[in-house]
């Protein structure tokens, strides 16, 4: 029971209220739910008794009797990194407006059994539906383990079939960003990518497409981790290569690391090398130089995903995909090739 047991042990139940108010249990229930009319006199007595006893109905009992649970679960490979955290915020805010509580579960992709445990933990609760953040391999793995009979929506950066999906069209945005760099006179653009959710991310695909479209050479992809510091060491290596004049990083934090590494190696941005990121991290505009990047509305994305899930829960028809369009933001870190 959610109500705590006072000092005395047993917690207050609806019967206690009924007794104190001198009415039957169903009458108290009627006052609680407003499902049927109750005489003013009794209603008042009941309300007084509820106050006196500090009674709160048992959520478990209510859930059992009929009502849909008012909770949804979110799976995410990370909870504190910018894009993830913002998406979760968007989900939570719109869920709360509809009277749903949000649970979060972080899933580590490496250990199989721990992943199963996490899924079981969630499935063991009464939940109305699930949203999976599929930005990384962990999200993909979770989705595979979820029973089909539970309402599920996924969020990711690549269009896929399967459950309904809230989509950030990253590929198109990346393509525009690379075009911007090419327009600046760079022969090609090198790509430092973050761990991809599948074989290839939308960001990487967009980069590749843009280069192909312009007939530019496609350099091998450089793999970074999630930590900005991994970008730094890559930047240091890149500093030694005079052929590198433009770098597209998988996200802003990696871009910041790369810029720092480039500086360590004596190369200046954007004078010697242009570096662009992705996401429009809150610190991107403050960075020196301010980052050219792609603004992603993660909160809106989360909100859309919840909207789809709610439709599913309520048995209404849902779009199989809803798309949020990112925008290129040009700042100081990209410039003409010299």
């Amino acid at each position: 029971m959610s109500a705590g047991e006072g000092a005395r042990g047993r917690s207050i139940v609806i019967g206690d209220v009924a007794r104190l108010a001198g009415v039957s249990v169903p009458t108290v229930s009627r006052v609680l739910t407003g499902a049927a009319r109750v005489s003013d006199e009794k209603r008042e007595r009941v309300e007084r008794a509820i106050k006196t006893l500090n009674f709160r109905p048992s959520a478990a009992a209510r859930a059992l009797v009929a009502r849909q649970p008012k909770m949804i679960a979110v799976f995410a490979g990370d909870t504190s990194r910018y894009g993830y955290a913002e998406t979760i915020r968007g989900i939570e805010e719109s869920a709360r407006k509809s009277g749903y509580l949000v649970s979060i579960t972080k899933v580590e992709d490496n250990a199989e059994d721990r992943l199963d445990d996490a899924v079981d933990l969630v499935l063991g609760q009464s939940i109305a539906g699930i949203i999976v953040l599929k930005f990384d391999p962990a999200g993909v793995a979770v989705l595979k383990r979820l029973p089909e009979d539970i309402h599920t929506v996924s969020i990711s950066g690549v269009r896929e079939k399967g459950v309904p999906q809230a989509l950030l069209s990253e590929s198109a945005a990346a393509q525009k960003l690379i075009a911007h760099l090419l327009d600046l006179g760079h022969d090609t653009v090198h790509h430092v990518r973050i761990p991809p959710s599948r074989r290839e991310d939308g960001r990487t695909t967009g980069w590749r497409n843009a280069l192909k479209l312009r007939g530019a050479s496609i350099p091998p992809v450089i793999d970074a981790g999630w930590e900005p510091s991994s970008g730094r060491s890559i930047g240091t290596e890149l500093a030694a290569r005079p052929d590198v004049t433009a770098v597209f990083c998988g996200n802003d934090e990696i871009a910041m690391g790369v810029i720092r590494g480039l500086a360590d190696g004596g190369r200046r941005v954007p004078h010697d090398v242009s570096v662009v990121g992705f996401d429009d991290h809150p610190l991107a505009e403050l960075w020196v130089p301010a980052l050219t990047t792609v603004r992603q509305d993660f909160a809106e994305l989360g909100s859309r995903a919840f909207g789809q899930l709610l439709s599913l829960i309520q048995g209404r028809p849902t779009a199989s995909v809803t798309t949020v369009e990112p925008n290129v933001v040009v700042r100081e870190s990209s410039g003409p090739r010299v």
Copy 2:
């Protein structure tokens, strides 16, 4: 019910399993819970039936019958900002290890009634306990509205009486940080603070104490918001004041803003002005100049808070306060007064 109703409407219940397996309902329950021995033959029949029907027991019914709910709720004034997100991560990771699911609710401090709604939403669920992030006024407001009979732990940067608390001893750390600046030869240290949770934060108190202790003058506090950009405009103003040689910012993001603003105004860090932050944000060491700051182990803090809550839930004795000690990290943004 957490189990979805298949195409047919009604969802699978324990009775269906019993019928298919040709045993009684309690026998199914026994294999489910492992509470009592069941003959190998029947156990196997039951397990097969469970698989066949894809049966998952109703969490609501289980919660009702006896078991403590396996979910805790977290209230936070923010969910995506670094310190908050990390704390939540720490809570979630250790909760999951103990088999608890974590729900998060963001509370905005401004609107009273929305705050009540948020609290009601949580209290309407079956939860085992609550953790309140009391880094800001919203957290304080929530704590006031929580019934006494629910297990509650708070997390904050200032020692207080009331519910058990996980404490970041910010005041002591701030004091050390200011001492570091004073040792560098600065006459005094100016303070740009983030919105305080109460009248005064531990960070501000530590700053004040350090100055007092050394007999330094105490300049008026400068108020910033949560956004790094608010630090930037403050930095621009500070650039015009030659008397300002050292600045202590309420967190790293504000410090980054202030440094950028100072640069906009033509003052260099740390040559002209030393600027220090608080938290050791992941980007602090990458910033140019790398930030002198205080490392806070938010995840550990969250983990400790959950530990206290678990003790409360299990009826074990709990420390009224558990303290995490932050460390000063000296990098490049602080230097001798010239």
